[in-house]
Structures are given as C-alpha cells and as structure tokens.
C-alpha cells in the first residue's frame, strides 16, 4: 500500500456486523469475517465484530455487514427478523455501507424468490434481482471475471436461478453455461453501490483479498473520510505473506475440476 506510515498505530475502530452467524453460515462463511478482521488489524484499524442474530439490536455504529448462506430451515428462522430490519438495511445500503451477502442472503436481498411449486417469497429488494427455484443444483469450482476485482475464485452451490434486473451490474462474468447466477446469461452475483451479492463461497474473501480490501476501504472512507492504513514494515510484510499464500491457493483452485 502506498499509504504506508512509519509506525504501527491505530487508525480507528471499524464496526463489522456478522449477520445471522447462527443460522446463515453453512459454507464456512465465518472465514469472511475472520479475513476482514485480520486484514483490518494489519492495516492498523481496530476491528470490532458484532454478531447479530435474530432479535439482537444493531450496534451503535455499522461500518460493514457480512452475511452468509443457510439451509431452508435457517432461512425460515431469520426471515421475520430480516423483514423487521429491512428499512435499516435499505438505509445502510443507500448510505454506502459495504455489504457482502452470500448465497441465501444474496437471494433474500433480491425482490423475491419463487419456489419450485410456484410459491413466491418476498425479499427485501436491495439488489435488483429475483430468484426462481429449480431442481438442479449448480455446484462446483468456479472462476468469474470482474473488471474491478480481477478473477474471482470460489465454489458455488445453489439450486435457485437468479436473474438480474436490466441495468444491474453483475459481480462478474462466467465462461460456461450451467454456472453462475442462472446457468444461462453468464453473469454471477450482483453489485449495487457497495453491496455485493454472490453465490461464491469457499470462503470467498480469503482467496479474494481484492474484494476484502474493497469492503475495508469503503468502510474506512465512509467512516473516516479516507482509507489511511497505519503500518510499519512488519504489518506490510505480514500482509504480503498472506497474499502470497492466497495467490498460490488461487492458482491451484482455478485449475481444479468443477
């Protein structure tokens, strides 16, 4: 980072909400929280992680929200609470709070989910997308391409087909039919303002530090006006070591069978 300062210091607290860690964390999504926390610390920020489950009040400040995937039962357990928070979430999103929503919460952040038997379940409409249930799962290793983040490397596992509204930007583009949002239009995920929705887990952020850093930068800029890491050489070196390992893990993962 060019902003490297001479000494380690505390650049400020960043309040990170881990949303529904109890019921929506089926694909190792806690790895995303861990990655954000560790990287914030290495940039000199003090991460404060708030686990928010059903009924828990928001913390005093919300700088970033991370949400994961769940099974049908998990989604049923959180849906009422999600609707109770929907206005707040829409306000945070409009205000530029960076969010990462994986799988189940990505779907619930859309307009609606139509199940195989035609039942329509409302989402909270932060992401212009809807999802249609179908009986074939899209499962496997996946590489998608993004102008902003480079190649995004992960693993998808979902049975819903998600269709973005016209004009909604996907997170990335996939090369093959039968993969990504719906298996048809070669899009994967969505990005609306600083809100990212995606089917990629694995966990996503450890192997995609560019996305982790995007979330961190957005959080810092929103709260403090600028992203100003405070790092002496040891923190810079540690981050470089982590990114070196991530680069090797990415290279291997990108070459694995679906």
């Amino acid at each position: 980072m060019s902003e490297t300062n001479e000494t380690n210091g505390v650049a400020g607290v960043i309040d990170v909400v881990s949303l529904y860690p109890k019921d929506m964390n089926i694909y190792g999504d806690s790895g995303n929280v861990l990655t954000v926390a560790r990287r914030l610390a290495l940039y000199g920020y003090a991460p404060r992680i708030h686990e928010i489950n059903q009924g828990d009040p928001w913390p005093e400040r919300v700088d970033m929200i991370l949400g994961g995937g769940g099974q049908d039962t998990g989604q049923k357990k959180i849906i009422d609470d999600l609707f109770a928070r929907a206005d707040d979430l829409r306000r945070f999103a409009a205000d530029g709070v960076p969010m990462l929503m994986i799988c189940g919460l990505y779907q619930l952040f859309g307009h609606y989910f139509e199940t195989i038997d035609g039942t329509r379940l409302d989402g909270i409409g932060i992401i212009g997308a809807h999802t249609i249930g179908r009986d074939v799962r899209m499962i496997g290793n996946l590489v998608e391409h993004s102008a902003h983040f480079g190649d995004i490397i992960g693993y998808e596992n979902h049975s819903g087909q998600t269709f973005l509204d016209p004009g909604v930007e996907p997170l990335g583009r996939v090369d093959h039919d039968g993969t990504g949002n719906n298996g048809e239009d070669h899009t994967e995920g969505a990005r609306v303002n600083n809100v990212i929705g995606t089917y990629m887990h694995g966990s996503l952020l450890p192997k995609n530090p560019a996305i982790a850093d995007f979330l961190i930068r957005a959080a810092a800029e929103r709260r403090y006006g600028a992203f100003e890491p405070r790092q002496a050489k040891d923190r810079v070196a540690e981050l470089a070591r982590i990114d070196g390992i991530a680069a090797k893990a990415r290279a291997v993962a990108a070459g694995r069978p679906r």
Partner: protein, 532 residues
C-alpha cells in the same frame, strides 16, 4: 458441468423390490440363471483383481445387472438379518466395532470392507463370501452404508436394526443440505423392522423416533452432560471466528453474543455448554435428558471408558483413541444389545436353522444359544479388544517414530480429532485433497478452529489443496514450517525428520490412501480394513 449436480441420483440400476429377510421371499424373483450369479460374479471379481489390484465394485455391477435380486436373496438367508449403520461421521469405526463385538461374542458376521459403503460394494463383498451355491454362511450382516446409498439399499432389503449416528455438514456438494441428509436417514428408520437405534444428542437424529414403524422399537445412545462440550452440534459450528493475537484489535473485540471470540485456544472445548439442542422445530422440543439412553458414555480416561447400562456404570479398558471413538462405542453397544434381545426372544433366528436341519444351521443355532448368555461384562470384554479402523487413530512405527493417522472428512470430525489428540510433544502434518471422495468444496476448512495448533505450529502441509490449508492456518495465526503439494515427498520428509518424536498426520480420504501407500513402502502397514 459435472453430471453429479443432483443429490440422490448416483446409484443407478437399483432394483426397486423390497424383500423382507425370510427364506420364502428370498426365493422370489429368482431368474432362471440365478444359480450362476455367484460363479459369474466371482470370476469377474478374480479377473478384475488380476487386471487392477483391488476388486472394486465392478463385479457387483455385473451381478446387479444379470441378477438384480441377488442382494436381497442372499441377505435374506441370514437368521439375524441385517444391521445397517449410517450417518455422517464414524460409520466405519462403529461398523467395525459392532461387527467385532458380535464376532467376539460368538456370532458369524458378514460385513462390508472399508470404503465400499454403497450398495454395489456390498454386492461385490457378498460375491466374495457366498458359496458357489449362493449360500452365505453367516448369522448376521453388519453393513456400513453411505446416506444416499442407504436409501436405495432399504428399497431392496429391510434392515432388522439400524444405527443412525449423526448428521453433520459433510461434502455438501453431494447431499445439498444437512436437512436433506436427515431426510435420507429418515427413510432408513422407516424401513427398519426391529430396532431403530438413535443418537440422543443429535436433534435431527433423535427426531427420527417419530418415523420409526409402530412395530419397531427405538433405543438411544447418549452422553453424560459432562462430556457434551466435546460434541458441539452442527448448529453450533457457525461461530469459530477467533481473534486473539490481533494486537491493537484485540482490546476492541466484543461480541453481540457470547460465542464470538470466545475461543480459548482449546478447540472444541471452547464451545462448552453450547451443544444442547435449542428445542426448536427441528428437534420437536426434545432435550437429551428427556430421552432414556440404553447405553450412555459417562466418562473417558487414558485408554478406558465408563458406560452406563441398565443403571450400572461399567468401566473397561479400550484400545480406541479419542472421546469421539468412545462415543461410537456406546452406539455400537446399543445396537449389539438390540441384537442380543432378538436372540433371547427367539423371535427370529429359528428360521433357516430349524427348517433345514443342515450342519450349518445346527452350528448357527448353537452359536446363538451361546451368544444369548452374554452379559454386560461379556460385552465390555468384547469391546476392549476392538482396534481402531483405517485412519481412525491408527498408529504406525516409522524410523523409530510413532505416526498416528487421523482421517478428517468434515469440520466436526476435524475438530473432534484436534481435541482428542493434543499436539504438544508431537510433529503435525495436514494433507488436504479435493477429489470427489474428499469433497471438492474447501469451505469446510473455515468451520474448523485450528487455534489449538498455534503453540506447536504445523511442520508440513500437503495434498492437492495444501495452499488452501496453509491459507486457513495463516488466518488462524498458526505457524507453518513447510508447504509442499507433492504428497509423496512431503510425507517422506515429515516422517523421517526428528526421529523419536511422535507424529500426527491429518488426512482427507484420498490423501490418507496416498499417505498409507507411501508409508507402506517404508515400513509395515497393516491392512486396517473393516471385516476379515
């Protein structure tokens, strides 16, 4: 896109008939050429062995194709029927224990070897054991079946007893979701004619009591409350995020709920008190205490375990390692007790013996008369001789170092292994592959808390996904000395370093096969398969 993108479609060409094990039914659906099935199957098996080195499931495929009733007809001869063992974790170990204990008590047992836990594998194993006349000389079958294949199996053969261990997130790319896996096991419980044996501590399994047929009985195996902290339920897996050591960050850590950042570096033990089911809709509001355990694990010590059976606490020496294996022993004892109850009631076990009066059946009747007298002391004595199965704490001596091989397949198993085998005074190696049998998806590694390895570090990380594992350890701030994706070389370097220092090697399934093969070229590695 891979063709395996749906859940329960793998076993194809399965016969849909249900045949209850009885000699009469067993004769139905017998094709005119059935007499030749054992001969053809054995010949194919022999040819397959000559061509490759393992028998594999290929002979089973041939037999299934030419004679779809073979499985049901052959297992239908067994006077004590079939014990089916399924669940996410511990199938192999538990199946081995059930089979060994029953054998020790005096029964003749047919069981399927490690790794062939699908229907066709059972058929292949049967072809090996039947006579050319199609007769299976055994009193009972103890079969380990993978959850998805168990469903297909019970369509052909109704088990007399089933033992359902747990449902945990494992290879989600195969089964989709945990609740779906529970549904698979539910059809096993529904098909069971004698006793449904359930894990009282796993809410999704305990709830299957509701689907057991009215004519079947239900037994539970359980844990004393003091041991539950070793077994967090899958629903507690969510919060392994632990951040001590983040310097400036640490003092700012807080948690909306108690569990975050509560890790004390002791792995599973850090989750104490959270393992009880929360009485939600999954569990039907059950709490473990509300259900009587037929066998409960009360305490564990150094190579000893205490079980509560019929109100008495019995302590026995064991050759098994790890609290998790000892809980599997409680499961095994519960289903063995169900088998013994069958024999004592004489409700079954009189069929073939008395109808034919052959020397074989006379011998079978004699065995059962003997086994019927087994008391709990005999059960304990039988259990104390059981040795660990393939990769479940198996010890191998290499160059003066004891190397313990630990199979890891899913987050819970990995956490339990880490908690059961303290890393101090040991060198640690972790090998992670992502072949189909291992699970392609690496996200499970992020549900394992590795902070218990911080103090000792990890000497070697290997396997196809070594770098994913290294990245995981890095984020848990566990020092890693070396990463090498070339497994053969990595294993050799690891086991020859520091002679005399005992070693732990954690491996996924295919990595375990490779590690054992490599060690087999350096020293004697026993065939640790289930069955004989």
């Amino acid at each position: 896109m891979a063709s395996r993108n749906t859940t329960v479609q793998q076993p194809v060409a399965e016969n849909q008939t249900t045949v209850t094990p009885s000699p009469v039914d067993a004769k139905t659906r017998r094709p005119w050429h059935a007499f030749a099935t054992p001969l053809i199957g054995k010949a194919v098996r022999k040819a397959a062995r000559l061509a490759h080195s393992g028998g594999s499931a290929f002979p089973g495929k041939i037999a299934e194709t030419i004679d779809p009733g073979f499985l049901a007809r052959t297992l239908g001869q067994l006077p004590l029927g079939v014990v089916l063992v399924s669940g996410t974790n511990g199938k192999t170990t538990t199946t081995r224990m059930v089979a060994s204990v029953l054998e020790n008590l005096g029964l003749k047992v047919f069981t399927n070897p490690t790794g062939s836990n699908f229907t066709r594998g059972v058929v292949s194993a049967l072809l090996d054991r039947v006579t050319l006349g199609g007769r299976l000389d055994a009193d009972i079958a103890v079969l380990e079946l993978d959850e998805a294949y168990a469903v297909h199996f019970v369509r052909q053969v109704k088990p007399r007893h089933c033992l359902l261990l747990n449902v945990m997130r494992d290879q989600l790319d195969r089964f989709g979701e945990i609740d779906n896996t529970a549904r698979l096991l539910s059809s096993v419980a529904e098909a069971t004619t004698g006793t449904v044996v359930l894990n009282r501590e796993d809410p999704r399994i305990a709830a299957l009591a509701d689907v057991a047929p009215a004519t079947a009985s239900v037994r539970y195996f359980g844990l004393d409350a003091s041991l539950r902290s070793f077994f967090p339920s899958d629903d507690d897996m969510a919060t392994t995020v632990s951040l001590p050591g983040l310097g400036a960050a640490a003092e700012h850590m807080e948690s909306g709920q108690a569990s975050a950042a509560a890790s004390d570096g002791s792995g599973v033990a850090g989750k104490a008190g959270q393992s009880c089911p929360d009485g939600d809709s999954d569990t039907g509001g059950r709490t473990p205490e509300a259900l009587p355990a037929d066998v409960a694990l009360m305490a564990v010590g150094d190579h000893q375990a205490t079980f509560r059976i019929d109100g008495a606490d019995l302590t026995t020496p064991v050759r098994l390692e790890g609290v998790y294996n000892l809980y599997n022993a409680a499961a095994a004892l519960a289903v063995v007790r169900a088998v013994l109850a069958d024999i004592r009631r004489g409700t079954i076990g009189t069929t073939r013996a008395e109808s034919t009066g052959s020397p074989d059946s006379d011998a079978s009747a004699a065995r059962m008369t003997l086994v019927a007298q087994s008391d709990t002391d005999a059960l304990m004595a039988a259990l104390s001789t059981v040795t660990p199965a393939f990769g479940r704490g198996e010890s191998i001596d290499v160059n003066g170092s004891t190397v313990e091989l630990l199979l890891v397949k899913n987050p819970m198993g990995f956490r339990l292994s880490l908690a059961s085998f303290p890393p101090e005074e040991h060198d640690t190696m972790i090998c992670i592959n992502d072949e189909y049998a291992d699970g392609r998806d690496m996200s499970w590694l992020w549900d394992v808390d590795f902070t218990s390895l911080r103090g000792t570090g990890v000497a070697m990380v290997s396997g196809v996904r070594a770098w994913d594992m290294a990245l995981r350890l890095e984020y848990d701030q566990v020092p890693v000395a070396e990463v090498d994706t070339e497994l053969d070389k990595a294993v050799e370097r690891f086991v020859t370093a520091n002679p005399g220092t005992p070693k732990h090697i954690y491996c996924t399934y295919t990595a375990m096969l490779a590690v054992r093969a490599r060690l087999g070229r350096m020293t004697e590695v026993a065939d640790a398969g289930v069955g004989r």
